[in-house]
């Protein structure tokens, strides 16, 4: 019985481990698939980085809204952390915060080519957020409070 418990614990650890230890890193071409899903959900895409203080401040709101509207929306957090910080900053951060939202990483130095493809108004400052569904999309070059985020998301899901 004891060994069963240990085995179960071991399996549990094994199961959780890859989620924290492996980052999903894409170049812009790889990221694009996440920006044009065509199903019934509304996607809330937030561009952030561990070095960006206003980004960190608003992350809990994205977690909260994912939880609140989990049947209707999917939050995707796109990290712009430097590859040299993946091990030292990003992974420890993700491990500590145990974020429920999906986290992917964008590593593509040719920013001048991909930034305007996300939105022509974006000059590169973060945080920024893109909310879209199959009918419409809106780009927000700003920080959010939770209430502001709810107000905007409601425009998509109602």
């Amino acid at each position: 019985m004891k060994s069963l418990k240990i085995t179960a614990l071991f399996l549990l650890i094994l199961n959780c481990a890859p989620k924290q230890d492996k980052l999903e890193v894409y170049d812009f071409q790889g990221i694009e698939q996440f920006l044009y899903f065509n199903d019934s959900k509304t996607y809330v895409i937030n561009f952030w980085a561990t070095w960006c203080a206003p980004c960190i401040k608003e992350l809990p709101y994205f977690e909260q809204i994912q939880d609140e509207y989990k049947d209707k929306i999917e939050v995707i957090l796109i990290s712009l952390d430097f590859p040299s910080h993946y091990e030292t900053k990003l992974k420890p951060f993700l491990k500590e915060k145990q974020l429920k939202s999906k986290v992917i990483v964008l590593d593509d130095v040719d920013m001048n080519s991909w930034i305007p493809k996300i939105d022509s108004k974006w000059d590169g400052a973060i945080p920024v957020t893109l909310i879209y569904n199959k009918e419409k999309r809106q780009f927000y070059p700003q920080s959010f409070t939770y209430n502001q985020l709810v107000t905007e998301v409601k425009k998509f899901i109602n």
Binding site: F82, I115, G124, A125, I126
Partner: protein, 199 residues
């Protein structure tokens, strides 16, 4: 009469605010300033009588992108100051939010890195909004024309923040080289990720 004045005044301020928010586009006349340097003096563009123009860089100590570009900003000054295009670095952040960008911290960083360009603090945060800078680093190349400074380039330093040796296009160098050769700048605006300026 009073009413009209008030109206004009309101319109004036509204317009000023509006233009302050959107910032400069290519061809705009950039404002001069008088900002405190790390050596305690106050620096204005008009102090540089021999300059043909300026590489104005909004930058800071605390943003990893700005840090990644420190050596390249210094190299730009070494390369172009003598040719008439000195680097003028301006730290735009609110230092209550970013104490690591205080004037003392700027002095320390400049000493550590051996900066040879003026590193100014926009303490009142009145200059960067007029330029329309939103992040660090954010470059404005100005060309002196009579007594004004005309914006000729806005954007990034080059196309690879990660590795200076892997850069394919050196946007700022290409722009300054064109201006020195009295040719039009071919790429006038570029974008890059940066840290939002803390207000």
């Amino acid at each position: 009469m009073k009413k009209i004045n008030l109206f004009l005044l309101t319109t004036f301020f509204a317009t000023t605010l509006l233009s302050a928010q959107s910032g400069y586009d290519i061809g705009a006349t950039a404002t001069d300033f008088k900002l405190e340097n790390i050596d305690g003096t106050f620096v204005s563009l008009s102090d540089f009588e021999q300059a043909k123009g300026f590489i104005v860089v909004f930058t800071c100590n605390t943003c990893p992108y700005a840090v990644a570009y420190e050596d390249r900003i210094e190299a730009l000054n070494k390369m172009y100051a003598t040719k008439g295009y000195p680097v003028i670095a301006i730290m735009p952040n609110n230092i209550e939010i970013k104490p690591g960008d205080s004037l003392d911290a700027m002095k320390r960083r400049a000493k550590e890195k051996g900066f040879t360009f003026p590193y100014l603090i926009d303490r009142e945060q009145t200059i960067f909004p007029q330029y329309g800078a939103t992040k660090t680093p954010h470059v404005y190349i100005l060309e002196k024309s009579n007594d004004t400074n005309v914006v000729r380039y806005i954007g990034a330093i080059d196309d690879n923040y990660k590795d200076a040796n892997a850069v394919e296009v050196k946007y700022v160098e290409e722009a300054v080289n064109a201006l020195l050769a009295k040719k039009p700048v071919s790429v006038t605006k570029t974008r890059a990720i940066g840290c939002s300026i803390k207000i």
